[in-house]
Amino acid sequence: MRPGKFAYHRAETIDAALELLTNNEDAKVLAGGHSLIPALNLRLAQPEMLIDIGRLENLRGIQANGSLMIGALTTHAQIETSAAVQQYCRALSAAVSKVGDPMVRNRGTIGGNIAHADPASDPPTVLLACDSIIHLQGPDGTRTVPVQDFFLDLFTTDVQPNELVTGIEVPNMSDHKTAYAKLTHPASHYAVVGVCVAVKMDGDTCDHAHVAIGGALPKAMRSPGAEAALAGTTLDDAALNAAAEALMDEIRAEVMGDVYAPEAYRTAMAGVYLKRAIRQALAS
């Protein structure tokens, strides 16, 4: 593999990284490198500079204190094996356990993942379903963005050129039943469709449900139709079918097709995996 020529700087502090970012228009931030390095190797990306933030230890780690605060440099493997994540949001544990392969999970980071914003990636779908908040830092200080406003389009986010993703805040979902169901692409291991649900039960009745889908559209989306179809039901087959229909109706016009999964198939699988996700959540 042959990337083009680039300068390399390792940032020792967040401020140093931000300064490099501000002063170098054509710089890319390197974290785990599992999206960026392949893009460099294929010469799809040819930045003049890489700013390696991989050793900013204060961006790494998981704190559970009312909500989960996951540092941007936390790897998928660290999230997957975190007891706190398992307790707060099982769907997130499940989703990161399905990212790529062990090598990707050991090196790839959650911050890099969402900043890259691959539409077929797993974590964004869960973050959306769980109303997570993205923490950013720029030269003028920090800000937060609700995840609903974070993903703008295919590989496009609200991160400004001089900003870094510093962390992801995931609410405590332990009073919800959450699950992530994924139809895995046999080559890339990305999601053909990935559906995350978080349902709040009141006895046998669903008080409310959050439904998000990834893989099918240029960015992960919530499904208001499916959520409405599930709320107030006992999540019986009829409700699940109605939710699946609502989800399929919402995505049908925009759904992406490819060699492996044509539009009609992807649309139908969104419904199938929604139902699977709900059944998994209820069984959890």
């Binding site: 083009g4 190797n41 139809l183 890339s188 009609a264």
Partner: protein
């Protein structure tokens, strides 16, 4: 007596270095002053080259040279399988495209620079003005009126038209009189060989001695030397080709490509070592692809299930140029095997080789035989369905009865030995065939879709008698040779011309030698891959290394043994006829306590202080071996699948394989070959398929898009074997490198179609992806969405 080393599942001696990273591949090599080559490749499938501007690249710091076609003094890339009686057209394949490019990836210019990144940077700056022409990627469409023409002197893009027939009249009559005829259109989709190591070459020209050394990823370094010396205009004895560790080939490292020749030529031109190593993207784009048939096939049978005839017309995509062995694959290695293991009296195959604006095709694991077995096993299942017969019983009825020494089929081949029904029964017992049919019926009632697929196959390998090679237009021999040298202390160097690259012959061949003369395996080194220190051989492919090179090795070892016996007799002061041998020891009959070991005999022969009269010193033997026939391994594979009704995902639940490759030198290595083969064949059935768009752009150009199967997709394989020795091999060995791939594609395919019977699906295009299976089920369920996506409903 100790446990016999032949047949013992000792661990592969190759593995420690491979597992620990100690192996040294071509791209691991570095030489002082080494330069790097990058290729500029065509982004268009078919275009005239109007102008090439290399000025920017030439001027870049670190760039040593930029060459285009007009700079070269290098021969064309030859095709080496000139199939006779086929009106074969062999348009020149220039190493760099001169006036026209014919596939995406066709090389247009090379850049030589101080490092590989600079070389690529410079290649990116070369501006080529193209006049884009029409592309054609489908071999059947390429023969139609109005299709884009790749070569002016190849009308309708037809490279050759070859026919194998048992007699056309008989075939016609059989079809006319048949009670039942089934027809199918089979697409053998293109596949990417995906060897773990991409191709690479490092060339070093020594202007002082006039010698060229080329390290490269080759399955057959002697063929590379043969062809490269011609392309480079160097005498063969001045060219040394070394295949160091080679990380798999599956056929893709048989051909001689332009790339290694260009590196060598540049090294001569610049008088510095030049290395080229392809990226995975390049590997998928320009290293040969496999299969690519569109077949119209049919089978005739009587109402009692006797198959009376089979025939087919094959449109075989050759890609943009004829690769080294390309024309031989869909002809000799395919059409002649149309009868399979069955007593089919009439057969005809017409194979039409077609140029398309795509990557050239050539041998890919199985090479022609997987396609033959697939169409046979597909048609048999369809006949069975039409006759409402059990597909296993239909097979059984038509299997060739057991034979130990020769069975000649209507297409002229003489199979060496076979006992097909025994393997079938063994596999049926393992899978529990009768019970499965009950389970399947129960499951269907619950809306679960189980299916079973059975393949009884035989295949031709151990290529092969050189006379046949010549008669079929192969521009080489197919014998092997070996030199066995025993050192003074009784250690062995066995040099072979074949070139294993993952198959494990460093282990099995040491076992073969050890079994013959009792020298322990750890004292035996198998040397291969270097034309500078190995005798001539034609390489490792076509499951031929064990049947051919292995035979040479056994015979050479027996020469050593006889010399050692004579030496021992001399030392024991006895007549040679009175000397017995056991476990590495020679002794006078009846006196096993007084013996000379093979090592002692070797030492004394090497010291040569006291030789028997007329005996030369030393302990060395050489042997050429030209096999009198091919070998024909066979077996039965059975798979059970379950299809998820709501997603179409195919789950492989069980896989039983009973293979017969004759006696097994090392059952663990045999199992490994079969395991890998099954996986690759199932890859074709369920996962893999090259997709070009209508402009000839490769859509499956990376591992993100092209699905090579992973371990998670497979159950534990259930293997067993029968043993039917080859009558003509010194120890009865047959090849086993390709059987898994040959058998597993139709096995799993038939299982899926069997599972889909409630939906009336007769045939579908491979790979049987979840989406295709789901669509097939949807169409039957009445919610069709308009797309056919390769699904054809049955009647």
């Amino acid at each position: 007596m100790s446990t016999r080393i032949f047949g013992s599942g000792i661990k592969r001696r190759e593995d420690p270095r491979l597992i620990t990273g100690g192996a040294k591949y071509t791209d691991d090599m570095a030489l002082p002053g080494m330069l790097h080559m990058a290729m500029l490749r065509s982004p268009y499938a078919h275009a005239h080259i109007k102008h090439i501007d290399t000025a920017t690249a030439q001027g870049m710091e670190g760039v040593v040279a930029v060459y285009t076609a007009t700079d070269l003094s290098l021969g064309a890339v030859p095709c080496a399988w000139l199939v006779p009686n086929s009106d074969l057209k062999t348009p020149a394949h220039p190493p760099l495209a001169a006036d026209k490019v014919r596939y995406v990836g066709d090389a247009v210019a090379i850049v030589i620079a101080e490092d590989r990144y600079l070389a690529q940077d410079a290649a990116d700056t070369i501006h080529v003005e193209y006049e884009v022409l029409g592309a054609v990627v489908n071999p059947e469409e390429a023969t139609q009126e109005g299709a884009p023409q790749l070569f002016d002197d190849v009308p309708n893009n037809i490279a050759f038209r070859w026919i194998a027939s048992s007699g056309d009249e008989g075939v016609e009559k059989a079809f006319a009189e048949a009670d039942v005829v089934v027809k199918d259109r089979i697409v053998q989709q293109r596949l990417l060989p995906t060897a773990m190591e991409p191709r690479a070459a490092l060339a070093q020209w020594n202007s002082g001695t006039g010698e060229m050394t080329i390290w490269c990823t080759s399955q057959n370094p002697h063929i590379h030397r043969f062809i490269l010396s011609g392309m480079l205009g160097l005498a063969e004895h001045k060219v040394r080709v070394i295949a160091p560790e080679v990380g798999g080939g599956f056929g893709s490292k048989i051909p001689v490509y332009a790339d290694e020749a260009l590196a060598a030529w540049a090294s001569m031109k610049l008088n510095r070592p030049v290395k080229w190593a392809e990226t995975r993207s390049e590997n998928y784009l320009v290293t040969i692809h496999g299969r690519d048939h569109i077949e119209h096939v049919e089978m005739a049978a009587t109402s009692d299930g006797t198959i009376t005839a089979i025939r087919g017309t094959v449109y075989a995509g050759m890609g943009a140029y004829l690769s080294t062995a390309g024309p031989g694959i869909p002809t000799i290695l395919h059409g002649l095997m149309y009868c399979g293991p069955y007593t089919i009296p009439h057969a005809r195959c017409e194979s039409i080789g077609v140029f398309t604006t795509t990557t050239p095709t050539d041998a890919y694991r199985g090479a022609g035989r997987p396609e033959a077995v697939f169409l046979m096993e597909r048609l048999i299942d369809q006949v069975a369905r039409k006759l409402n017969m059990d597909p296993v019983e239909l097979r059984r009825k038509n299997l060739i009865p057991p034979f130990e020494d020769g069975y000649t089929i209507p297409l002229g081949l003489t199979y060496d030995s076979g006992n097909y029904e025994v393997a079938l029964d063994k596999a049926l017992a393992m899978i529990g065939y009768a019970d499965f049919r009950k389970e399947q019926a129960e499951a269907r009632k619950q809306g679960r879709y189980l299916g079973i697929g059975v393949t009884t196959y035989c295949e031709i390998c151990g290529l092969g008698p050189s006379q046949v090679a010549g008669a079929t237009g192969f521009q080489g021999g197919l014998w092997e040779s070996t030199i066995i040298r025993v050192t003074p202390t009784g250690k062995v160097h066995a040099m072979i011309g074949a070139s294993p690259h993952g198959q494990g012959e460093e282990t099995t061949f040491a076992q073969l030698i050890s079994d013959e003369i009792g020298i322990p395996v750890e004292d035996i080194e198998i040397l291969h891959g270097d034309t500078g220190n190995t005798p001539m051989g034609w390489g490792t492919y076509g499951s031929r290394t064990t049947p051919v090179a292995g035979a040479a090795l056994v015979l050479a070892t027996r020469k050593i043994k006889e010399k050692a016996r004579a030496m021992a007799a001399h030392l024991l002061e006895a007549a040679v006829e009175d000397i017995d041998y056991e476990d590495g020891k020679f002794f006078v009959k009846g006196s096993p306590d007084k013996f000379k070991t093979i090592q002692e005999a070797t030492l004394m022969a090497t010291l040569a202080w006291n030789m028997p009269e007329g005996m030369d010193p030393g302990m060395e033997a050489s042997q050429f071996y030209d096999p009198p026939n091919f070998v024909y391994p066979f077996g039965t594979h059975i798979a059970i699948v379950e299809i998820e009704a709501d997603t179409g995902i195919v789950h492989l639940k069980r896989y039983v394989a009973v293979d017969d490759c004759g006696p097994q030198i090392n059952p663990v290595i045999v199992a490994g070959q079969i395991h890998g083969g099954i996986v690759q064949g199932v890859g074709q059935a369920l996962f893999e398929g090259v997709v070009y768009d209508e402009h000839g752009q490769l859509l499956t150009g990376s591992m993100m898009d092209y699905a090579v199967p992973r371990a998670e997709a497979f159950p534990e394989f259930e293997l067993d074997h029968t043993v039917t020795p080859s009558p003509h091999h010194p120890v009865g060995l047959k090849g086993v490198g390709e059987t898994g791939t040959i058998a597993s594609t139709p096995t799993v395919y038939n299982a899926v179609i069997d599972a889909l019977q409630p939906f009336g699906i007769k045939t579908m295009e491979m790979p049987l992806t979840a989406a295709r299976v789901w669509e097939a089920m949807q169409r039957r369920n009445g919610s069709a969405n308009g797309s056919t996506n390769g699904v054809h409903e049955g009647s």
